[in-house]
């Protein structure tokens, strides 16, 4: 349904002394019908940029995005616009993705009017239907975003996205600003809506617990590159890349034995403006070899998954 090939994006900084940052450095992935693909990594690894590049909210430097057989990277603005209802995004901060001076009713009605999906006379009815579907009531229709809680606003955003009947949704950390019990509500709602409408989803998160629960396929990113990709269960059962291992080991299981040492890797993510040579993870890798400093590993098959590491 969605195929991404060798997507690259470089941001540059400075005027006289130009410096460049490879935010996304050759990402390829495929997402099937009704499938949820998870993208996980630490902050600054480029996962949000991937989501935005796929939707062409920012333009890529090279690579292709093929959506339902159409190469959208070369599409003209007007043609892209026609495709927009099919591909939507849920941002992490729902409060700021709603217009503060529009009532909830107006926010949800906007896409319906824009794409003329229902006749003017039926908009009110449709808005109410959408609101009730995401678990809100009629009384919320005339409220403003600041009068609702973060969880309720995320429901409104979801209703607005679903109004267009998209086939593909990028969910960019949709619950990272919410409390756990509210997070559970929103994630269950997304699951339920996916059952009902059958959209595919790129689910971006730094929370491995959430990723494990929500996705069937998974890509682990580190400094703009995928280091491991495969079925979510396979990766959680037997992580192969040292970084994936470290990430999974860092997931602190509630109620686990507290004497267990939980510090899996030393150091922090290197400066992306000045990334290490060879394998980008070698500066923190516990299994570093000589070759890692010199040569960047290619993606290879290792059992059920694909890994970019010289160990394989």
């Amino acid at each position: 349904m969605l195929e991404v090939k060798e997507l690259k994006k470089t941001f540059s900084k400075g005027f006289v002394h130009k410096k460049s940052l490879k935010a996304v450095d050759g990402i390829s992935l495929t997402i099937g019908e009704r499938e949820t693909f998870g993208l996980v990594g630490e902050s600054g690894c480029g996962k949000t940029t991937v989501g935005r590049l796929i939707l062409r909210l920012i333009e890529s430097n090279s690579g292709e995005v093929i959506f339902n057989g159409i190469n959208i990277t070369g599409l003209k603005k007007a043609d892209l616009r026609k495709l927009r209802p099919n591909m939507q995004i849920l941002f992490q901060d729902a409060d700021s993705s709603l217009h503060p001076r529009l009532r909830i009713r107006e926010s949800i009605a906007e896409p319906l009017k824009l794409y003329k999906l229902v006749p003017e006379s039926e908009i009110e009815k449709k808005v109410l239907e959408l609101l009730e579907m995401v678990g809100l009531q009629k009384e919320h229709m005339n409220r403003y975003p600041h009068e609702l809680s973060g969880g309720q606003n995320q429901r409104v955003v979801l209703a607005r996205v679903l109004a267009l009947g998209p086939q593909f949704i990028v969910a960019d950390e949709p619950t990272s600003a919410l409390d756990v019990s509210v997070q559970a509500q929103i994630l269950s709602l997304i699951n339920e809506m996916q059952q009902k409408f059958g959209f595919s989803c790129l689910f971006i998160s730094h929370d491995l617990g959430v990723i494990r629960k929500m996705t069937s396929k998974l890509g682990v990113m580190y400094l703009g590159k995928l280091v491991e990709t495969g079925r979510t269960e396979d990766i959680f059962e037997t992580p192969k890349h040292p970084y994936t291992k470290a990430l999974i080991a860092a997931v602190r299981i509630v109620g686990s034995d507290k004497l267990q040492k939980i510090c899996p890797i030393e150091g922090e993510i290197p400066d992306p403006m000045n990334p290490p040579s060879g394998c980008k993870f070698h500066t923190r890798c516990p299994q570093k070899m000589d070759i890692c400093e010199r040569i960047e590993p290619e993606m290879v098959n290792a059992g059920n998954v694909k890994v970019a590491c010289h160990l394989f």
């Binding site: 630490e42 809680s149 019990s181 994630l187 080991a249 509630v254």
Partner: protein, 295 residues
């Protein structure tokens, strides 16, 4: 007027780490700030805060200053806004040494650098001369921890010390706090919304809901058999525990429900819960629960 914290009682014993857990807006930060009397002047704090046989609420401002940072230190959440942007990290960590230990800058600086080293900041001599914006989120948190622990306080209040950090960095910070606190034999009150953090650092856990403590239990008991219905639901709403949502949302503190504050969302609620406010009941030694099921 909003009653942010309602009749909360808890003890932190020597060499103990107590976790204070709850969702946003439940009053946990307000409770922490009230201990060191850091709330704004228009707040009314009633009750007693007994630290080593003295009541902090009735202490003069001058005596209070001697307690802050020296006896009881607070590690605030969001280090970027808690650190002074125009002073170097080294100077900010030196400050407690100068204030409480009466050291001159040169000596305080030396101590500050060794504090930064203890907090595992790489090349502390050079990094000490840098400003907060030159530090990463994890490094800033390490600097905050060094500041808090500078004068070897006996009680450390840590407010969401791992908030906003990546998982691998969170793990490093937790490991560091455990190490430093154990080495110094200090007590700690750690405030967090993250049950995993609490389960790793604490001996006991206190759970707040809507301005009240609903359960205090030993860490093992709490995770193996949470007593209060809210704690049960809270645990099973975690993604890896089944992600079962709790219906409804936390009440606004301006308009709290009558009776038990959790009753509108509680699956065990019965008539009494709707009209009468439950007291704290002792379930067994060291386990206290605010719920009629245990009356």
């Amino acid at each position: 007027m909003v009653r942010a914290v309602n009749k909360v009682s808890l003890d932190v014993f020597e060499n103990e780490t107590l976790g204070l857990v709850g969702e946003s807006g439940c009053g946990k930060t307000v409770l922490a700030l009230s201990i060191l009397r850091l709330l704004s002047e228009n707040t009314v704090v009633e009750g007693e805060i007994i630290y080593k046989e003295q009541d902090l609420i009735r202490l003069g401002e001058k005596e209070m200053r001697n307690i802050r940072g020296r006896e009881i230190a607070q590690i605030f959440q969001n280090p970027l806004s808690s650190l002074n942007p125009v002073l170097t990290i080294g100077l900010q960590v030196s400050e407690p040494f100068m204030l409480h230990r009466g050291m001159k800058l040169a000596e305080a600086w030396k101590n500050a650098i060794s504090m930064l080293r203890a907090a595992k900041i790489p090349s502390p001599t050079e990094r000490g001369k840098e400003y907060p914006h030159q530090f990463s989120g994890g490094m800033r948190q390490r600097a905050m921890i060094s500041m808090g622990l500078a004068c070897s306080p006996e009680l450390i209040i840590a407010d969401e010390p791992t908030k906003g950090l990546d998982v691998t960095i969170q793990a490093q910070i937790i490991e560091l706090m455990r190490e430093l606190v154990n080495d110094r034999g200090a007590s700690m009150l750690i405030i967090t919304h993250d049950l995993a953090v609490a389960s790793e650092l604490c001996n006991r856990i206190a759970v707040m809901y809507s301005g009240e403590i609903v359960e205090i239990s030993g860490i093992k008991d709490f995770f193996s058999s949470p007593a209060h219905p809210y704690c049960k639901s809270f645990l099973s709403s975690l993604p890896l525990n089944g992600m079962k949502p709790i219906s409804g949302s936390s009440p606004s503190l301006i308009d709290v429900p009558e009776g038990c504050r959790f009753h509108p969302r509680c699956e065990y609620a019965y008539e009494r819960c709707r009209t009468e406010h439950p007291e704290i009941y002792t379930l067994e030694k060291g386990r206290n629960v605010r719920c009629f099921l245990y009356a």
